[in-house]
Amino acid sequence: MTRIVFVEPSGREAAVEVPDGWSLMQGATAGGVDGIVAECGGSCACATCHCYVEEARLGELPPPGEAELAMLENVAAPRQPNSRLSCQVKASSALEGLRVVLPDRQE
């Protein structure tokens, strides 16, 4: 289990214990976090699980693959250097305590 702190669009913080190997999206949606739509359920097909990862720890994440980069070009909220698709980031102990900010819109 890895503790991830999601910051919902309202500003509310929700700490979720995400099982290792799960995507951040799975952890957030299963945990009832607001701000992730994840319409395709994690197939990297819809770009509605956009999130901003704590910038200082960006380097601790495996970099996005080609498909994720492509989808990130068309996310609804502004794309930033720390933009990721939460369905493509897997929880692991290295990410303990990571703060993930969710945008105000996904569609």
Partner: protein, 413 residues
């Protein structure tokens, strides 16, 4: 007290429930599902779940307790027997009744059964629920162990996705499709042909124009599938993917208009102001009077939202470009818009070397595009369609033409 009852705890039902709450509805919400599990993701069932790459909890859309926290009362293994519209009561199979002030029907669809002797054998299966997929996975494992092939009846999306997953598991696969091409309801001929080649390259025997004559059974299990041409193919598992039947019986028996689906407008309203419907169970009446039946996650999500907001008195038409995707091997197909009715089709790129896309036009206007491993283009096309913008067919066919430029500087309309 106001009480919205939602019949069906799949994608559309869950979205309707959460949209009601997010929209400020303060009454009671009952989400009734007839399956043993609460809402779960169905798309991975034919892919990651079947391949054993994810666990059951990862399919679950909301962890236990989350819905209760939102004031949504989830009742699983709960079948509805009838709707009494005059009394505004839903009658459950256990004899109890639930009064409603608003009702959302999100009853889904059921795989069409194969009217053939032998089709009821335990190793002749269709894929709809998690239990279905679990049974298919177990049979596939046996197929791999005993070197018995999978025979897929019906070359639609489900059948072809399962075929691809089975090949990954090292199982021999034959696909029997009655039509002259694969996934013909949704794909243009150029893509049907492309997929037939892709699957054949992965070792799948793809038989087109195949008439299934019967299933041979020994000791209670299907052992071979016979086709009209007299051929007999040995099998350890038969996957039947010949389409679905909309679950509209409850609505029909309650006197709501149905035509292979509960007829709704683009805000998901039925003719009863207290009842809306969403997802696979619906047939949407379009402006031109025709009925549109979309079986997709996108449709379930959008209609789920509309079905909820209509009950809240803030109708929200779902008129955006529908979209869909399918993962087979390392190829991601993404479809945007509706290509039915297109009169011109152009290929952008080369079908020999993905990524490439197929653009569909009607009277010179873009109506849809199907992309292979081209997610940028897919999302761009959705934006173009929703904005009412269109490249010319010549621009679409020219890979040197930047489609983004259409969004940047929309022409005067």
């Amino acid at each position: 007290m106001s009480h919205v009852v939602i019949v069906g705890a799949g994608q559309a039902g869950l979205v309707a429930a959460e949209t009601l709450r997010a929209g400020g509805f303060e009454g009671a919400i009952s989400l009734l599902g007839d399956e043993p599990d609460g809402p779960y993701h169905r798309p991975p069932l034919s892919k990651a779940w079947l391949a054993g790459e994810i666990d059951a909890a990862q399919l679950t859309m909301r962890a236990p307790g989350i819905l209760a926290k939102k004031g949504i009362s989830l009742r699983t293994a709960t079948a509805v027997r009838a709707i009494d519209r005059a009394a505004r009561v839903v009658r459950l199979a256990d004899g109890s009744a639930l009064e409603y002030t608003g009702l959302v029907l999100a009853t889904g669809a059921t795989p069409r059964a194969l009217p053939l002797p032998g089709a009821r054998s335990p190793n002749v299966l269709a894929l709809r629920s998690r239990d279905d997929a679990t049974a298919i996975a177990a049979r596939l494992a046996l197929c791999a162990e005993q070197a018995r092939p999978l025979v897929v009846i019906g070359g639609g999306f489900i059948g072809m996705e399962v075929a691809a997953t089975a090949r990954k598991k090292g199982v021999d696969v034959t696909v029997l499709e009655a039509a002259p091409r694969l996934m013909a309801r949704a794909l243009p001929p150029v893509l049907s042909d492309w997929y037939a080649t892709l699957h054949r390259r992965h070792g799948v025997e793809v038989v087109l124009g195949a008439g299934v004559a019967g299933i041979d059974v020994e000791d209670g299990l299907a052992v071979a599938v016979r086709t009209a041409d007299g051929a007999r193919r040995r099998c350890g598992l038969v996957l039947v993917g010949v389409g679905v039947v909309q679950n509209d019986a409850l609505a029909r028996e309650a006197g709501l208009a149905c035509d292979r689906g509960i007829i709704v407008d683009d805000c998901c309203r039925t003719e009863d102001p207290a009842i809306t419907a969403a997802g696979d169970c619906t047939a949407r009446r379009l402006a031109d009077g025709t009925l549109l039946r979309l079986e997709s996650v996108n449709n379930a999500n959008e209609q789920g939202k509309s079905a909820a907001t209509a009950l809240l008195g803030t109708p929200r038409p779902f008129t955006g470009a529908p979209w869909f995707w399918s993962d087979q091997y390392d190829c991601k197909l993404q479809m945007a818009g509706l290509s039915a009715g297109a009169d011109q089709t152009v290929v952008r790129g080369s079908t020999d070397t993905p990524p490439f896309s197929v653009f569909h036009f009607r009277a010179g206007r873009l109506v849809a595009a199907d992309t292979i491993n081209a997610p940028r283009e897919h999302l761009l096309v959705r934006k173009l369609l929703d904005a009412g913008l269109s490249p010319t067919p010549q621009q679409a066919a020219d890979t040197a033409f930047d489609l983004n430029s259409l969004l940047a500087a929309p022409p005067p309309r």
